[in-house]
Symmetry: C2
Subunit: 387 residues, 2 copies
Amino acid sequence: MKLEITPQGVIAGSIPLFAGHPARDLLPIDSIRETVERVWLEPGVTRLFNYGAEQGNPELIDFLVERLRRAEKLPVARENLMIIGGSTWGVDMISDQLTRAGDVVLTDAPSYRDALHIFRDHRLELRDVPIDGAGVVVSEMERMLRELKAQGRVPKFYYVVPNFQNPSGITMPENRRRAIIELSQRYGFLIVEDDVYSDIRFEGELPPSFYALAGGENVLRIGSFSKTLAPGLRIGWLIGAAERIADFVGGGVLTMGGGANPFTAAIVAQYCRSGEWEAHVRWLRGQYRDRRDMALEALASAMPASVAYTRPAGGYFIWLQLPRSVRVDDLAERSREQNVYFAPGTGFFVEPDAGLHHLRLSYSFLPPEDLHAGIAVLGNLIRQMSR
Amino acid sequence: MKLEITPQGVIAGSIPLFAGHPARDLLPIDSIRETVERVWLEPGVTRLFNYGAEQGNPELIDFLVERLRRAEKLPVARENLMIIGGSTWGVDMISDQLTRAGDVVLTDAPSYRDALHIFRDHRLELRDVPIDGAGVVVSEMERMLRELKAQGRVPKFYYVVPNFQNPSGITMPENRRRAIIELSQRYGFLIVEDDVYSDIRFEGELPPSFYALAGGENVLRIGSFSKTLAPGLRIGWLIGAAERIADFVGGGVLTMGGGANPFTAAIVAQYCRSGEWEAHVRWLRGQYRDRRDMALEALASAMPASVAYTRPAGGYFIWLQLPRSVRVDDLAERSREQNVYFAPGTGFFVEPDAGLHHLRLSYSFLPPEDLHAGIAVLGNLIRQMSR
């Protein structure tokens, strides 16, 4: 079942703990409005309403290249980056251009549900590798690669959300990243790094990206403004080797329709170049950290000791492990009666049953009182059900 | 070679007769700016910056459904229509969801080059059927279907631009549409009707759409605001049977990213509901009719009698047939030396050589003086080359 999140809020009185959306009150609507005013004053504003360059808004490309060079010391150039219509566009375009039906794709168990959905739409054969508290277990990945190789098969790519993973909130440390890059070179597959949460970092440092560690070879890295500005603008970016980016830019979709939305890309470019985006990101970190803290406090007081959960250092999500006596589908049914909705673990695995005792909570979208109330309802139900 | 159409115009001094873009001075920039002002005043404007409903902006859906019922007496309901990110999105999504590599797709010879590009990206096997002055030749299509059937194959769909075709400008009459629907039922394939030019009608009436003639069964019809408002907003629509639309709306791409750009869709919705769009379309028809007339006058005075060309009753394009002694690649090379660029016929056929004596001119984008000058250059070259 899919709840509609209406303009007035979610269905009257319900608590959607599943919603991985930015909080409404954290969207900088007034700043976007002022930004649009400035866009109208740009020379050549007319071009924003015609077909745009296939690679995307040039000013936004320049801004992002400069930021990657400055903040990550990443030796990228214009030809390594293109603007896309949100991370979704990236995942879809990569699947379109680099795979055909029946190809194998590796993911984590659990992995991001909606990306699995896109891969299934492309009729890809998904294999997921278990994670622990530090992300995917490398020895398990190697075992799977050997197994595939014995069948004469090689995955097309490994899809991973490396930082503050959706759904687990876990960040993969550098040594695992290096080990996976080594496997990708040995077995010959690409790494698709869906890195949309890295700017929502509450504490600590992030390891270098797969892209950085691999020297830009055979890694495609996706970024997005959806989590740090506004999903409704539908703007993100893709980084890769120059020849791969050129292939995407020269594909039929971009040749026919031009680049990612020229008007909203220009709004984002203007917002970034004024310095507002980076200031907003710094502010957002504190806001989402407070929400993460509230969610963890609520969990600490509401959950029985038999429930384990992650403590993410960034991002939007917490991943819960239920006692073996509690099935997540039963819990979902009973929480629905109290108007509390969450994302059952079953959606995040290639084999749904592997998620029968897991669930994902999102602390990004809900007002604090709903977050508390929803978690309290779940805690009570789990206590009752695990008796 | 691909020319960049820069904010300052096309590469200094050149004449891009290939550009199938709306003319810059016909984009209603000031009205769009005023429309955006009204969008900020909408209740619940915040929702436009979060993830949007998968089916697309509800007000725009309602507007389009009402317009189709009113203007075409088409018995469509909300569940028959979804908002898409331009016609490109429609062609790509249909290819993604309804085909797999190796499937056969029928098109016209010639057909829209960039759609062929998208089909090739999906590794579809393209078969094109010759057209005459009234569109695709039905007996040839039937011959091809029989030939395919003998190999145990059925096309997945027939892709057609039925009104003011890109590249020929030709409109297919009702009797052919009915005959093709009959074939689609007999052989079991879908019809994908890319109908982005029907509102740019200069004279006469258009036949009912394939969608209307087939009673909405097994036809997907694509519409767009790119030709009648502004390509840079990236908004169009798709009409089909309710269960097909539900399949698209429930796909991974829309589940992950939400519906087509919520902000620009709201701008389009506001512009449509105020009545401005239909008024703008009426005005545009006169503007593009004048340009079509100028192009035909220029052709009449510049071209030798050995050159045949179409006289479109709408749309953006004229299709030229060169004398057999003139190859289009030679002409392109020589016209390039004079900074005149056009779209060679070779790009519009499955077998490029079939277009060796054809070319497409666009009269939509260029100022009248460039249109005249460019056509004069081509006429002179053709005269010289066919001596």
